[in-house]
Each structure stands twice: as C-alpha cells, then as structure tokens.
C-alpha cells in the first residue's frame, strides 16, 4: 500500500486513505424519504471537506472544542470528522438529555461552535445560552420550524457547506495541509461520562488511542470493508461511537442510520447488519417482545417453539462453539434451525450477524445463553470510556456466560487487594478535561488506570467482573453481596423491567422491583384481570404472587452457588412508578443510580428491614411534557422463600 498503515494515525488521514483506496464503496447509508440514501467514501470525504473549510472560515481552530447534539445522521459524523481535520476536538452530547445537563459540558470545554440536529436541539442550546457565554455559533441541520428564528448565532448546515465549498475553491490544498498538521497524539474526541455519582467528567481520547483499539479488535474479528453496522444508540455514548465512527474509519466498513426510533426493527431487518452491538437492556427488551408475541401464537406453534427452544438450550451454544455434539442432536438442531431459529433470526434482523457484542453492564447468564442458543454469535466485551472500550473480548470458541473474556492484544491487567481491576493499555484516555485531581485519582504515576470495578481472573485467564467496587458489599456475616448479579438474574424474567438490591452491612438481602408494564399487562389481560394503570397493576395481589414466583426461582439458582447462597432475596416490594432517567434514578444509558435511589426511597428501605407489611409512599413525578405530579400509594411488602445452600458442590 502506498502509505504504510503506521502513517495513518489520525481519522482525517484515514478518511483520505479510504476515499483514495475504496472511494466507490459505501461509507454511510441513511434510511430517509422511504429509501436508503448512500454516501460513498469519496462523497463522504467531499462532504467533510466542505464542512471543514466552512468551519475554518467561521473561526474554528486547532485545539478548540465543538459540540455535536443529535441522532445518528450522516451529517453529524461528517461534522465530527470535519472538526478533527482542523485539529479541533468534537464533543458529542446526548440528544435526549435535558437542556440543564448540556450546560456543564459547554462551559467546561468553553465551546464556541455547536452543531444541533433540529429545532428540538437548537431550542435546548438557546435555552442555556445565558449560562454559556462562549457559545457563538449554532449550526442546525433540519430547518423545520426554524424559519422565524432570528438569533444571530444561528446558521444552517447548508449555509456552512456553501461557505466551505467556496473556501475550498479558493484554496484547494488548505484541507490536506491542515490534516498533515494533525498527529496521533492530538485529542480526537471528548466524551462526557454519564457518571453514576458526581458531576460528569470530560474524557479526552487521542486519535492513537481510538485507532489502536479499533484496529486491535478489528484484527481479532477479521472485520473487512464488506461488513455492515446499524447505528441506533446515542452517538455521545462511546459504546456506539466506537462501532459507528472509530472502527469504520479503521477498517472501511459501512454504517447505516435508521429512519427513526419507531422504524428501527424494520430498518434493521432490511439492512441485515453483519457486526452488531447491543447493551443488555436492548437484548432484554427484544427477548420480552419475542416471549409476548410467542405467547399469543396458536397452541401448535407454541408447543413447537417450546420444544425446539429446549433443544437449543441443550445443544445450541455447543454447536455455535464448535464443541462435539451427537449426530442425532445435530440433526434435531438443524430441523429447529429451519423451523424456528432461522426464521427467528430473520424476523429480528440478525440472520447475517457474524459477530455480536454486548457490554455496558453485566448481562444475565440466561439472557446471554438464549441468543447464543438460536445461533447468534453473541460475545461479552468489557471496557469503558476511559479505555476506548476494548479491554477484554471473548474470542470465538471461548465464550462463557459469566466472564468477559481474556485481555485484548496490548492490554495489561492487575488487581489491588480489594480486588479492584487496574488496566494499562495504549487505548487509555489522556486526562479528564480540566480536572487534574480526578485524573491523578484514576491514573497513577506509572500509567495504571483504576477502573472502580471488582473482579478476578478465572482458570482460563478470562476476567470475571463481580460489581462496582463501592457497590460490592458484605452482609453482616461477611458473605459476598453483588447487587448487579442479583438484579440481572431478576431482570431475565420478562415481567421484571428493573430491580435494585440492598444488603450491604445488613443481615439479609431485600430488593425494589419494577414490573414491565407491557409484559405484565399482557399476562393480566390473558387472565381477564382488569387494571387501570401502572400503579394499580403493580398493587394487585395476583401480580405480586407472579413476581414472588420469579424471586423464589432466582433464590433457588443462588442456593446452587456456594459463594452467593447467602445473598438470597428475603423480602421485596413492587415500586409504584418506573425508575426513570428524567427523575435522576437512572443514568442516560439506563444504569441504576444506586446511591441516589437508596437516599430518595430511604423510608421504603427501612420498611423492608423493619419487617413491616406495607408502607405508604408520596412521590413527585415528572411527566413527559415537563409537568410534575404527585403519586401516592400503599406498597405491600412480600416475603420470598429462600432455600438451604446445596450440600458440598463440586467447584463452580
């Protein structure tokens, strides 16, 4: 190859490389106006050139920061690359965050230029303008509804593009010169961690870090420019950005943006991605959909489905891993593939998935086994924003339900006495922006990053994550209490949407449980149970009995594992409302904010441990359109049978 791979150390250089080598190949597709609009690598490079020159005219210089707020759209990724061409640092923000949450990042990074997708994002930026004096230019992509906006800061993306095209004509070599100035160590992007605790921190990642990790994982999976990825998660989350920005630049494959959230399922089935990433909650939601729809099927189809699912549960995973399986079993599975698993993968849009990752939080073992058993090569991945994602990845053939796989090439792992995991890798972040104390705290002198996760290496060298260090607790009698592990087992049942376990420094474990409105509602309708809304459904006796059965089944599984037998759930209550990010109970990526919940529902936790039968709760709730209302309900507390730990079990 003309330029050796080493010299391509920044994303803009990679862009020019792809435009030269595979110019006609599709770089990015977007379902818009009913069909898939396609940008080839040359077209994408031209778009980036126009926007970069435009931004340069508008005064965006090396080292400046530029905010990007919006859904997965080709123009958002073009703007991101354009900023990098000028040596500026793109800062993607969550598009469903409220205005207040955007103020801190913009002040912190002194952002002058921002690209917003549509009127909704522009309104948020205009709302926080008073607190962000630095913000001078806001470019909007979709002009809908913005015709009468006369604010001076506003300019349309198309106008920016026109300025860029004229500028590029005047000085054709300008962009190449700017790109040459860039080097691997320059910051490529800044991601604000959602942070389950204090204010968010700006993680600065260099070109080198992102590209190196992207290449390491690509080589491991043999990704080529023929692969296809669907980009549907928020671009501001490193989990999505690595797959829809860093890796396509590293390998040249094509990313596809769905038309809208409602059409995601059909768009995914149309595109048929070969390389797929989904956090556990998305996989859970899919499984719940599958079980609800199968429940409504005719008796014949249901029995067929259950029969072949048992076959899959027994042999599916083994066949996928290439382990030896009897011929009769293999034939039986093949029949199942024709009748159930093939069509199921087809309807879920996953027929062409070669590699599927899940990460972001620990996944329930049964949920994980379900996808592998129907032939989807789902593998676990561990990483975080600070480590450019790829730390541990399960290679094909060594996939286990409860580990996250061995370290990826170039990553070193070390453990502190409290079992905290330390990591050293080329993908480490440079610093928390303008937060030296946090940087020291996280990265010590000789480059080890403190992940804050507790875990250990198992016999095959696979990393096994227990929980967040500060969450891993001990019951009074010292037995290990890993709340996330319990919560994931509970969440495997379609009827349970979210769960929060308590037990640290207590004598037994209790839990809050959120029922899944759709699944339980469907279950109730089948039994002719009338209910008015979420609160009424959650308070019904029959629903409590249903959830008690689920909890008792979890307790039975826990009893089988000597280490966890002590942390069986004794008492639980069904929350009167769904935990929601808008009320601060979850992070933007739907992770439980344990500390906040314990503090806010203090009275409920005490009632659980005081052995009370029921507790009254008054809570303020924020509705979708911003109005707040009062919910009051009497939550009755239920007891769940726990099982004696199994006698001497052979080592797990």
């Amino acid at each position: 190859m003309a330029t050796d791979i080493g010299a391509l150390d920044t994303f803009p250089k990679l862009l020019l490389h792809h435009a030269a080598v595979r110019g006609a190949r599709p770089a990015i597709r977007e379902k818009d106006r009913g069909i898939w609009q396609t940008w080839s690598w040359t077209q994408f490079a031209d778009e980036v050139r126009a926007i970069a020159c435009g931004l340069a005219q508008q005064g965006l210089g090396r080292g400046d920061h530029m905010a990007l707020v919006g859904d997965n759209r080709p123009r958002i990724y073009a703007a991101m690359c354009a900023a990098q061409c000028l040596g500026a640092v793109p800062v993607p923000l969550y598009q469903d965050a409220v205005a207040a949450e955007m103020a801190f990042p913009i002040q912190n990074a002194e952002i002058v230029h921002a690209v917003g997708e549509d009127q909704e994002q522009v309104d948020k930026l205009l709302e926080i303008l008073p607190q962000c004096p630095t913000l001078k230019h806001i470019y909007y992509d979709d002009p809908r509804g913005l015709r009468h906006y006369a604010q001076p800061q506003l300019a349309s993306y198309d106008r920016l593009r026109e300025i860029g095209v004229e500028a590029a004509k005047r000085d054709p070599g300008f962009l190449e010169r700017e790109i040459e100035k860039g080097s691997g160590d320059d910051p490529a992007a800044m991601f604000f961690t959602s942070g389950t605790t204090a204010t968010p921190k700006g993680v600065v990642l260099t070109h080198h870090a992102l590209i190196d990790r992207a290449r390491a994982a690509a080589e491991m999976e043999g990704l080529t420019d023929r692969d296809v990825v669907i980009a549907y998660l928020p671009p501001a989350w490193i989990g999505q950005n690595i797959f829809s920005y860093a890796q396509p630049f590293a390998t040249g494959y094509c990313i596809c943006c769905p038309e809208s959230a409602e059409t995601l399922m059909t768009d995914m089935r149309e595109i048929g991605p070969s390389y797929y990433f989904a956090p556990p909650r998305v996989l859970e939601a899919l499984l719940t959909q599958v079980s609800i729809r199968m429940e409504d099927a005719g008796r014949l189809k249901r029995t067929m489905y259950r029969h072949f699912m048992d076959v899959a549960r027994r042999v599916g995973g083994a066949i996928l891993d290439g382990k030896p399986v009897g011929m009769a079993q293999r034939l039986h599975y093949a029949l199942g593939d024709l009748l159930v698993y093939g069509p199921l993968r087809n309807v879920l849009g996953m027929s062409r998935v070669r590699v599927a990752y899940t990460a972001g939080e620990a996944i329930g073992p049964d949920l994980f086994k379900f996808y592998r058993s129907i032939g989807i090569n789902l593998k676990q991945l561990y990483g975080s924003t600070e480590t450019s994602v790829f730390v541990c990845v399960q290679p094909n053939g060594q996939v286990k339900a409860d580990t996250v796989g061995p370290a990826v090439r170039g990553v070193e792992l070390k453990f502190t006495p409290q079992r905290e995991l330390l990591i050293r890798s080329p993908g480490l972040f440079r610093e928390y922006y303008k937060n030296p104390q946090a940087t020291e705290q996280a990265k010590d002198a000789d480059g080890w990053f403190h992940t804050g996760d507790a875990g250990y290496l198992d016999a095959d060298g696979h990393l096994k994550i227990i929980d967040r260090v500060k969450d891993v607790g001990k019951l009074d009698d010292g037995t290990l209490f890993a709340p996330k592990y319990l919560e994931n087992k509970l969440k495997f049942f379609p009827y349970i949407k979210e769960a929060v376990a308590f037990g640290h420094a207590r004598d037994h474990v209790c839990a809050f449980i959120n029922i899944d409105m759709e699944a339980v509602g469907n279950w109730a309708e089948k039994r002719k149970l009338a209910y008015t809304g979420y609160v009424d459904l959650a308070s019904r006796k029959e629903v409590r009995d249903l959830i008690t059965q689920c909890v008792e089944q979890v307790n039975a599984d826990l009893a089988a594992d000597p280490e966890l037998a002590g942390s069986q759930i004794h008492r639980f209550l069904l929350l009167h409302k769904e935990l929601d990010a808008d009320d601060g109970e979850l992070t933007r990526t739907r992770k439980v904010r344990r500390g906040y919940i314990a503090e806010r529902y203090e009275s409920l936790v005490e009632a659980l441990y005081a052995g009370k039968e029921s507790v009254h709760v008054e809570a303020q709730v924020r509705y979708e359109d911003g109005r707040t209302g009062q919910i009051s309900a009497d939550l009755s507390i239920c007891d769940a049978r726990s099982f004696p730990p199994a006698a001497a079990r052979k080592a797990a």
Binding site: I35, Y305, S351
Partner: protein, 358 residues
C-alpha cells in the same frame, strides 16, 4: 418460514416500487413461469392441455378483466359473456376480411372492439350504481346474445348460426383451426395471458390503478380530490372489456375452434363472476385461483367416481357437481368473504413473520 428478508434493502424508488420487491416472491414467480412455459408443454397430455389448462388460462384472463371492473373499481358487471362474444365475433370478422394478417394481432385488435362496446354499455355508470348498474350490464348481455343470433353478417350467413375457425399459420406453424396442436395453442394462450396480466399489474401500481381503487372505496372523496369519476369509470369499463374481448377471441380461436351465441350467454357471465368472487375481489392472483377452482373442480368431480372405482350415472355426477359448487360458494363466502387470494395472502404473511403469529 421460507422468507429471509434480511438484507433486502432498497436504495432507489424504482426498486421500492417494483412489482415483486421481495426476492423470495421473485423466485416463486420465476419457478411458476418456468413450469408453465417449459415443464407443462413437455409433459402435459393433450387432454390436460385442451380441457383443463387452456380453458383455465382463457377464463383467468376474462376473470382478470372482470376483476379490474368489479374488484378494483367496484362496478358490478353481469355482461362479461357478451363482451367475450364481441371479441370472438370481431376476431372472426377480421380474419374473414383480412385473411393474411397475423392472427395474434387480430386477436388483440378484437379486444378494442369489445372495449368500444363495453364503454357504450358503461355510459349509464355515472348516474347509477350498485345493483342498478348490474341491470345495465345485464341489458348488454341479453342484447349482445340476441345480436349474435339475429345478425347473420356476424357469422358470415352460416346456416348453423355458429362460426368455424379457419386454419391460420404463424411462421409456417398451424396456430388455429383443427390442425393446430394443443401445445402451440397452449403456449400462445399462455404468452398472451402473461403479457396482459403483467400490463394489468403495472396499471394497478400506477396512477390509473389508484384512481380506480379510490372510486371503489369512496367515490365522493375521490371526486373532491380531483378525480373525474366519469372518465375513470369509463376507462375501467373499456380496459375490462378489452380483456374480456381478447379472452373471447382466444376462447373461439385457440380453445374451442368454433363458437356460437350459446357459449357467450348469461351463464358464462355468472361463471366468471363466481371465479372473481371466490378467487378474491381486487386481486389479480384471485382471478387465477378462482378460475382454476370453478373450472377445475367439476372436471375433478366428474373423474373422481371413475378414479375411485364407484360407478355413478354421469348425469347424477353432473347434477351433484352443481350442488357441490353451490355449497362451495356458500362455504367460501362464510369462511373468507375476500376469497382465495386473501387466504393466500394470510398464509404468505404468516410465513413472513414465522414463528410469530403477527
């Protein structure tokens, strides 16, 4: 179950609006055409061709014509038989006046005559609707039947008031008349039917098809949107009669070899109406399924006793066919008022979302 729609995405409107956007459907149609054009001529016996396949194809074309009018535009017509007759006699007169002109061209031209007559009898459709319109087409049927007997010029003053089809050749091969082999006639009928049904499918996915369906569903709203009701209805009558005319011409020339007023009487109209209703109003596939069932069933019933070794007087078999046919029509209307095509559509939809129910 057999559908694998993953990866079939459309990057252009032309692809999105294709007749068969899904790959598996394209494969299905290709297989059917292959069987029809290659396998059948090689294997089918003359009996199968002459008394089963050719009739079904010809009647399917007539049913398609009626479906365009009744299924897609909502105008009930009982004059199909008459319009087919016009096609047959027009073709006969054309061959006598222009003996050496290509027969296929004449068959298609006779369709235009039927279209003209159809439009004339469609004129009342502006002022009257529903059953009342059925009377107008019934008047056409009886009037045309009367003409086929009372106007000797139509059958060249032949005393038996019927027409004998002369032998016509195409590229040296006998195509009509007694010497023409069943296979050639079958292939000719098949190609004409395929082309015309393809044209009908194209019409239905374009502007004209939509205006017809709009007139069927809510003609008042259609008018307020700027659709000229009168022109749309007349166009429907014209195109529908064209199809019936061509079907009639093929019936005389490529199937029976002769024709007289009896073969285009009111019973023929009812027969085709049954095919469209049982097959499925508003579905081209329905016309084929209906024709195959309503024509095929009596043949099967007639041969069933012999096949099963029971020997029943042929008269009783014929009469019981009537009863079974009547019971079948009622049964279908109860089970699926929208006909076989809807059953086929439901089945296909179930396969697409297999293993889910919806």
């Amino acid at each position: 179950m057999f559908y694998r729609e993953v990866g079939q995405y459309k990057t252009s409107y032309a692809a999105d609006q294709a007749l068969l956007p899904i790959l598996q459907d394209r494969i299905g149609i290709a297989v059917i055409l292959l069987i029809a054009f290659v396998a059948v001529p090689l294997t089918a016996s003359n009996f199968a061709l002459d008394s089963v396949l050719i009739p079904i194809l010809v009647l399917s074309l007539a049913a398609t014509g009626l479906n365009l009018l009744t299924g897609y535009t909502g105008l009930l017509s009982l004059g199909t038989g008459g319009f087919m007759g016009v096609g047959a006699f027009a073709c006969y007169k054309l061959t006598t006046i222009f003996p050496n002109v290509n027969i296929i061209f004449l068959i298609l031209c006779s369709g235009f005559f039927a279209a003209a007559i159809g439009t004339v009898f469609g004129l009342p459709s502006l002022r009257i609707k529903g059953f009342y319109l059925a009377v107008a087409t019934l008047a056409a049927q009886f009037f045309l039947s009367w003409c086929f007997i009372r106007i000797p010029w139509l059958y060249n003053y032949n005393i038996s008031a019927s027409i004998e089809v002369p032998t016509k050749t195409l590229f040296g091969l006998a195509v009509t008349g007694p010497t023409a082999s069943s296979t050639t006639r079958y292939l000719l009928v098949l190609s004409i039917v395929t082309v015309l049904v393809l044209m009908a499918a194209n019409l239905m996915r374009g502007r004209i098809g939509r205006t017809w369906m709009a007139v069927r569903d809510m003609d008042l709203a259609a008018e307020l949107i700027g659709i000229r009701l009168y022109q749309t209805k007349l166009l429907a009558f014209a195109v529908s009669s064209f199809y019936c005319g061509v079907a009639g011409a093929m019936m005389a020339f490529l199937w029976l070899g002769n024709a007289e007023s009896e073969s285009f009487n009111i019973n023929q109209s009812f027969l085709i109406l049954f095919m469209v209703i049982i097959g499925g109003l508003g579905s081209l596939l329905g016309s084929f399924l209906g024709a195959a069932l309503i024509w095929g069933l009596p043949i099967v019933l007639r041969h069933a006793p012999a096949y099963l070794g029971l020997h029943i007087r042929s008269a009783t078999v014929d009469q019981s066919t009537f009863v079974i046919l009547g019971v079948l029509i009622i049964f279908f209307l109860i089970v699926e008022p929208h006909g076989l095509a809807r059953l086929w559509q439901i089945g296909k939809q179930k396969l697409r979302v297999w293993p889910f129910p919806y």
